[in-house]
Symmetry: C2
Subunit: 92 residues, 2 copies
Amino acid sequence: MGFAETFKALSDPVRRDILTLLKKGSLSAGEIGSHFDMTGATISYHLSILKKADLVFENKQKNFIYYELNTSVVEEVMLWLADLKGGNDNEP
Amino acid sequence: MGFAETFKALSDPVRRDILTLLKKGSLSAGEIGSHFDMTGATISYHLSILKKADLVFENKQKNFIYYELNTSVVEEVMLWLADLKGGNDNEP
DNA sequence: AGACTATTTAGAAATTTCTCTAAATACAGG
DNA sequence: CCTGTATTTAGAGAAATTTCTAAATAGTCT
């Protein structure tokens, strides 16, 4: 719930690739994992970081867990950057 | 020159604070350092990372080095995020 | 040139991050 | 209930990051 966690989450290439994958729609942990050359445990670790940063949320169905992009947090990060760039001094 | 470096650079709170400081205008390394409770060497390390990520550029004057925010890279990051969020599939 | 100031570089220690293997949990379906 | 599949948790090792102190550069000014 702070930018710290969000930016940290975005700082890893694997996690950014996961988010890009999720752009087209929700995917199960296994489906996500199949795009990478790493164990499911490692993917699970990355997903947990994205989840803690609120960049994704999960959706249990059967015994699959589907992950979905949380665009509202992406938007918050964009606002932070816009403020940095814009130099508008009216952000609290 | 890649997002990897840029996001990594943005992932540290000290470096984000430096960028926020630079929002109001350019500052010398020493002036930046005076806002933090760390040695000048550590600030220099953070500045080098921001510089490698092209998030700031430097400007020598007398024997001071002034650092300035590079808003164009901030904009590139915003575009990446906009694409992620928007799901507009027209980005090359 | 010499002294002084500003900043960076080098090396080392503490901490954090990423990845793996192995084991645990959760749940579905016969 | 038992077996099988999907995912997470725990523990450990390797690699990267952050910070410090001490020393090196670079440039100014008398």
